[in-house]
């Protein structure tokens, strides 16, 4: 089973990387960009019988730091 874990910075956490990307896009002449936030995508290939609880546990124990990050688990259809 393929699983995608989307990790993003919480609102209120400064994202200097996103800000730099924002400035770079504007430097390339793209207009109308209101904000840019950079996150992380982690793709897992796990056993088909892996429980939702186990996936959630992986996110809470390692993949995301809940002090600064939110996560969303997406199961990808084969």
């Amino acid at each position: 089973m393929k699983v995608r874990v989307h990790v993003s910075l919480k609102n209120g956490v400064l994202d200097p990387q996103g800000r730099a990307i924002h400035h770079a896009l504007e430097g390339l002449g793209f207009a109308g960009i209101n904000d840019v936030r950079a996150g992380r995508l982690i793709e897992l290939d796990v056993a088909d019988d892996t429980s939702d609880e186990a996936l959630d546990d992986m996110c809470r124990k390692l993949l995301a730091n809940q002090v600064i990050e939110n996560y969303r688990i997406e199961k990808v259809a084969a």
């Binding site: 209120g12 956490v13 400064l14 994202d15 200097p16 990387q17 730099a20 124990k61 390692l62 993949l63 730091n65 002090v67 600064i68």
Partner: protein
């Protein structure tokens, strides 16, 4: 002061990618004396009877995933967490601070510097509290100078946590100048029991005149004197 036979015992943990572990061990040996055990991250347990556990600076696991995230889950950390719970002093510097937050021993997180750039220079700090075995040798509000060298030193915690840190007098050091965008200029924090300190500046790089100053030495002297080890 310390000497080889004074009974002081410390452990310096080395993770893959640590690069300040030797400096930390030398600082402890020079100032606290006694025995400094070098412990590998994969070891199952710490030596008995430690007076100090130090987590050094560096780039453990290449800062993969998040700075300190992988190191915080390494085998030895279970024993470090247990020792911290028993009241053993634990000092985390730079990457060691990041590891301590990732391990849940300290609140908050260290994120990318607000200015994006890696900052490597001597910075002015003020001592936030003297109520800890790491800072008892300083004066409250004392201005000191210690180098930083980090990319992810921007301290973040939610407002309630920051208020609690201030109310409980747990901010050990604050930046006295703009450095990395840290909330409330926090450079170092204590845990609730005050036996765990994490700080981004490197006190082990400021222990003798040849390094440009001795403001960092006072931290190690505080630990030694706090433990009342016979010189």
């Amino acid at each position: 002061m310390g000497g080889p036979g004074n009974g002081f015992a410390a452990a310096v943990i080395t993770f893959p990618g640590s690069n300040c572990d030797r400096d930390m061990a030398v600082a402890i040996e020079q100032i606290c004396g006694g025995t400094v055990h070098r412990v590998w991250h994969g070891d199952a347990s710490l030596p008995e009877g430690l007076d100090l556990i130090a987590l050094p600076g560096g780039f453990s696991y290449g800062d993969y995933l998040r700075s300190g995230a992988m190191a915080a889950r390494s085998p030895i950390m279970q024993d470090v967490i247990a020792a911290a719970g028993r009241g053993v002093p634990v000092l985390g510097v730079c990457n060691g601070f990041q590891v301590l937050t990732e391990a849940g021993l300290l609140p908050g997180a260290l994120v990318r510097n607000a200015g994006i750039r890696f900052v490597c220079r001597e910075v002015a700090l003020t001592v936030g509290t003297t109520q800890s075995q790491f800072t008892s040798g300083y004066l409250r509000g004392q201005r000191i100078s210690i180098p930083v060298a980090h990319h992810d030193g921007n301290y973040f915690a939610d407002a309630a946590t920051l208020d609690q840190l201030e109310a409980e007098d747990r901010i050990a050091f604050r930046y006295a100048e703009p450095v990395n965008g840290s909330q409330r200029d926090i450079a170092g924090v204590l845990n609730g029991a005050r036996n765990v300190l994490g700080m981004m500046p490197h006190p082990e790089r400021m222990i003798e005149a040849a390094q440009g100053g001795t403001d960092g030495a006072r931290l190690f002297e505080s630990i030694l004197h706090g433990l009342n080890v016979a010189a």
